[in-house]
């Protein structure tokens, strides 16, 4: 299996505080993988390293075989690494359409175009419309992001990441705080996407992880303590100890 | 070709100027670091210090004025902070603009009270005249300025390093929750820091007054180096403000030898070079200001 994304020996410390130590990961293409772990395990820091918002103290990151350790976030996004954030990070005064459209490569390529009307870039409009339908926000194109409900904002958050035509989609706690309706939409969405896209999620919702994901990596206090299929992880004693019941087991299926 | 005496004089002038810059910049930086407010009125408060001293000296003598004038400026600072506090947490531009407006109004008030002309102030009798140091004659007053500046800097250093309040200020406590968790009244702390910063400006104004003539526009001239010192020295660092001030003072003093008006230019070249090599300033620390 040639991994689409792999890291070797990542280390990150803030001052004296070592947040990640010797993290070596490999994510296979077209699979839905999860990174789980108790709070403070370093999961979001890991994402920040993968997307270029932080630089590792040690170690390297390779995407499709190419060393991207030194690349800034915007370059990585252009390569197809797209990310949604744990704490909603939307363009709050932009409409749903504007939020998604600005992330579409067709518009991004024309970023320095100061003359055309933004709405006249047909390719961008079409792609954005498609994404809006995909994430279930059709009919709300012109609502400003700040006026959406929380569940809708979560879906938009993912929509913006999807708009970038990712080859690798990183989602940081996408189900956080979702009610049952948006949760269903999200599950269906993720299942549909997983076919043609590599997805890595950070999640606390074990039901989501165990039923949908192919691979699970467990982080605890900055190191990888287990990797494997959901079943193997569920039965792993070290993992259970690490969590000590802080997981949300809604329904353990199969 | 300047001889050794002239060179040394300029060098010493540079040091004195640098120490003065450091005091001004440090007060400015305390406000900037703690409340993320660019205090535009810093310069005019500097001037106000000088004017208040001018008014008080005939009545209470030089030393008392040295203490009272900055306190008066501090009082004005406290009043100002009442308005500035309404801009906390908003776009940082608003704090800047508020103090900008205050600077204009205060400068005009100075003009109304004391007139637009300049005053020359002579140093107090016990330090008038020069020191004789071997080959060199140096102004006694400037020595006093240097001494006073060092005392002020040492006091502030002690406050920052050795007191709990100072520790909080040093940490750049714009994190209200953290501060409250430590049991410190955030509002009062901000008032105190603002007042402290303005007191320092006022004090610098008092001691600088005999060196430069006192006019309403001197404030604008005094605040500009403060910006540069903070950029050069880095935000959030006591050492940076002192180092930046000294560098700037010396560059100014020395270049006056070579190109009389070029000293300003030297300041900026210095700033540009520092920014290119050390974007955060010489001793700057990563702070929330960068986010």
């Amino acid at each position: 299996m040639t991994a689409i994304l792999e890291t070797r020996g990542l280390r990150k410390a803030f001052g004296g505080n070592v947040v990640l130590e010797d993290v070596t990961l490999a994510f296979a293409p077209n699979r839905l993988s999860a990174i789980i772990g108790p709070n403070g395990a370093g999961k979001t820091t890991c994402f920040n390293l993968l997307t270029g918002f932080l630089e590792p103290d040690r170690g390297e990151i390779r995407f499709q075989g190419r060393d991207i350790t030194a690349l800034p976030p915007d370059r990585r996004a252009k390569l197809g690494i797209c990310r949604s954030f744990q704490v909603l990070n939307l363009f709050n005064d932009y409409s749903v359409l504007e939020n998604i459209r600005v992330a579409v490569p067709a518009l991004r390529r024309r970023g320095f175009d100061c003359w055309t009307r933004a709405g006249d870039v047909r390719e961008a409009e079409d792609r954005a419309a498609g994404i809006i339908r995909l994430v279930g926000l059709a009919g709300r194109e012109h609502v400003a992001a700040r006026f959406l409900s929380y569940g809708q904002r979560r879906l938009l958050e993912i929509g913006v990441a999807l708009a970038g035509e990712p080859q690798l989609l990183l989602m940081d706690e996408p189900t956080s705080g979702l009610g049952s309706r948006p949760m269903e939409t999200l599950r269906e969405l993720v299942q549909r996407l997983a076919a043609g896209l590599t997805i890595v999620v950070i999640e606390h919702d074990m039901d989501f992880v165990l039923t949908l994901c192919h691979d699970v990596t467990v982080l605890h206090r900055g190191t990888v303590i287990a990797q494997g299929t959901p079943d193997a992880i569920r039965d792993n004693r070290e993992v259970r100890e690490a969590y000590l019941g802080t997981l949300k087991y809604t329904k353990a299926r199969g | 070709m300047p001889d050794v005496a002239e060179l040394t004089t300029h060098l010493l002038n540079g040091v004195v100027l640098g120490l003065l810059y450091a005091v001004i910049a440090l007060g400015f930086m305390l406000i900037l670091g703690t409340m993320e407010v660019i205090n535009f009125s810093h310069g005019v408060l500097f001037a106000l210090g000088g004017y208040l001293a001018l008014a008080l000296q005939p009545h209470v003598g030089w030393w008392a004025a040295l203490v009272l004038a900055p306190l008066g400026v501090g009082a004005v600072g406290l009043v100002l902070e009442l308005g500035v506090r309404r801009t906390y947490g908003r776009d940082p531009l608003f704090g800047l603009l508020f103090t900008f407006g205050a600077a204009l109004a205060l400068e005009e008030i100075i003009r109304i009270v004391w007139g637009p002309g300049g005053y020359t102030i002579s140093p107090p009798d016990f330090v008038s005249g020069p020191f004789h140091l071997g080959f060199l004659f140096y102004s006694k007053y400037r020595v006093l300025v240097a001494v006073l500046a060092v005392v002020v800097l040492a006091l502030v250093w002690w406050f920052l390093e050795k007191t709990p309040y100072g520790a909080v200020v040093k940490a750049g406590a714009h994190d209200g929750e953290m501060v409250r968790a430590l049991g410190i009244n955030l509002t009062r702390m901000r008032s105190l820091v603002f007042a402290l910063g303005t007191v320092m400006a006022g004090l610098a104004g008092v001691i600088a007054a005999p060196m430069w003539s006192l006019k309403p526009t001197i404030g604008a001239e005094a605040v500009m180096p403060a910006f540069i010192v903070v950029v050069i020295g880095g935000i959030g660092s006591f050492g940076g403000a002192v180092l930046g001030g000294l560098l700037l003072g010396m560059a100014s003093g020395l270049s006056n030898l070579v190109i009389p008006r070029g000293s300003i230019l030297v300041m900026y070249v210095l700033m540009a070079v520092v920014l290119l090599l050390r974007p955060r300033g010489l001793m700057g620390q990563k702070s929330m200001l960068e986010l």
Partner: protein
């Protein structure tokens, strides 16, 4: 026609077209109108930086002022004429803007402001150091307004207020249309995104430093145009607009009018500001006190400006209308029409 100039803009253009006829009736004078348009060009370009990208540059007066010097120096000692010096004014200023952008584009917020102040002051001092070129405190006087060749009218002298007013008017119209296009273009979308979340903008693939540098330089180009016209208006280049105090003016203008909330905010702000300035200075010698107090009052009580207030009363978005609210209303009407 509306794709280029929405109705509101046509209204503004018409207003300024007939203003010279109206002004004397309301106690104004043609030169005031000229000043308003010149500062409006400056403020609209500056608002691209402040209101649209969220970059609080403070020291932009330096660019406004230096353009005058570029123009004056070219006219007096290099090319002579009108158009070329004007162009040189714009290009020279834009170049200086690009230079400063190298240092400041990486920042935002307070640190950005600090740096722009420092550079603004640098240029101010530079004027006095280079006084053989700039005339130092006296400025560079003796600027000419050569006649221009207008197709159909022959040579039109610009020395008098009225023809010069319409000369400036042409640039005012041009600038406004240009800026409107910029704001509604893909580039405009990107800078708006940067304002709302620079992190997210980077995460979706934009080199935000590059864009910030570009918009900074662009705003300086407009400052260059305005500054050049200003020096022509005054028949000379002077350091006065480059001072830190005057740099604050353009910020205040944008704020009073509601630059954060509306494209036209700066224009309204300029008009209000200049009228108030005239009014204050007739009332008292110490108008700077009133001015400073006004500044403080606006910050405390009306930070969103006049148009911001108007907008907040009319609809709650409160930020630049990039079509959102209008489209939403349109969609709403359609939906209402089709619902039972």
């Amino acid at each position: 026609m509306t794709a280029w100039t929405p109705p509101a803009m046509l209204g503004v253009f018409t207003l300024f077209l007939v203003l010279p006829a109206v002004l004397p009736w309301i106690g104004g004078y043609t030169y005031l109108g000229t000043e308003v348009m010149i500062w409006a060009i400056f403020a609209l370009g500056y608002n691209l930086l402040l209101g649209y990208t969220g970059l609080p540059a403070f020291g932009h007066g330096a660019f406004f002022g230096m353009a005058g010097y570029f123009l004056a120096v070219s006219q007096k000692w290099w090319t002579g004429g009108l158009w070329l010096p004007l162009l040189i004014g714009v290009l020279g200023t834009a170049l200086c803007g690009a230079f400063v952008a190298l240092f400041v584009a990486r920042r935002r917020g307070i640190y950005f402001s600090l740096l722009t102040i420092a550079f603004g002051v640098m240029f101010w001092f530079l004027v006095f150091v280079l006084d053989t070129w700039t005339g130092g405190e006296d400025g560079l006087t003796g600027l000419l307004r050569p006649a221009i060749a207008v197709p159909g009218l022959g040579a039109v002298a610009l020395r008098d207020n009225l023809p010069f007013y319409y000369f400036v008017y042409g640039f005012f119209v041009l600038s406004t249309v240009l800026l409107w296009r910029i704001v509604h273009s893909p580039f405009g979308q990107v800078i708006g995104a940067i304002k709302q979340s620079e992190t997210r903008a980077r995460a979706v693939g934009y080199d935000t430093t590059l864009y910030k540098g570009a918009v900074f330089t662009l705003s300086c180009a407009f400052a260059g145009l305005a500054g050049g016209l200003y020096s022509l208006a005054r028949f000379g280049a002077f350091a006065e607009p480059m001072s830190l105090q005057q740099s604050g003016n353009v910020v205040l203008m944008c704020l009073i009018g509601g630059g954060f909330a509306s494209f036209y905010g700066p224009v309204l702000g300029v008009a209000v500001f200049l009228v108030l300035r005239d009014f204050f200075s007739t009332v008292t010698d110490h108008w700077m006190l009133l001015y400073g107090l006004l500044f403080m009052a606006i910050i405390l009580f009306l930070p969103e400006g006049i148009l911001g207030l108007v907008q907040r009363v009319r609809r709650p978005t409160g930020f630049h209308d990039t079509g959102t609210a209008e489209a939403a209303r349109a969609a709403e009407t359609t939906a209402r029409g089709s619902k039972p």
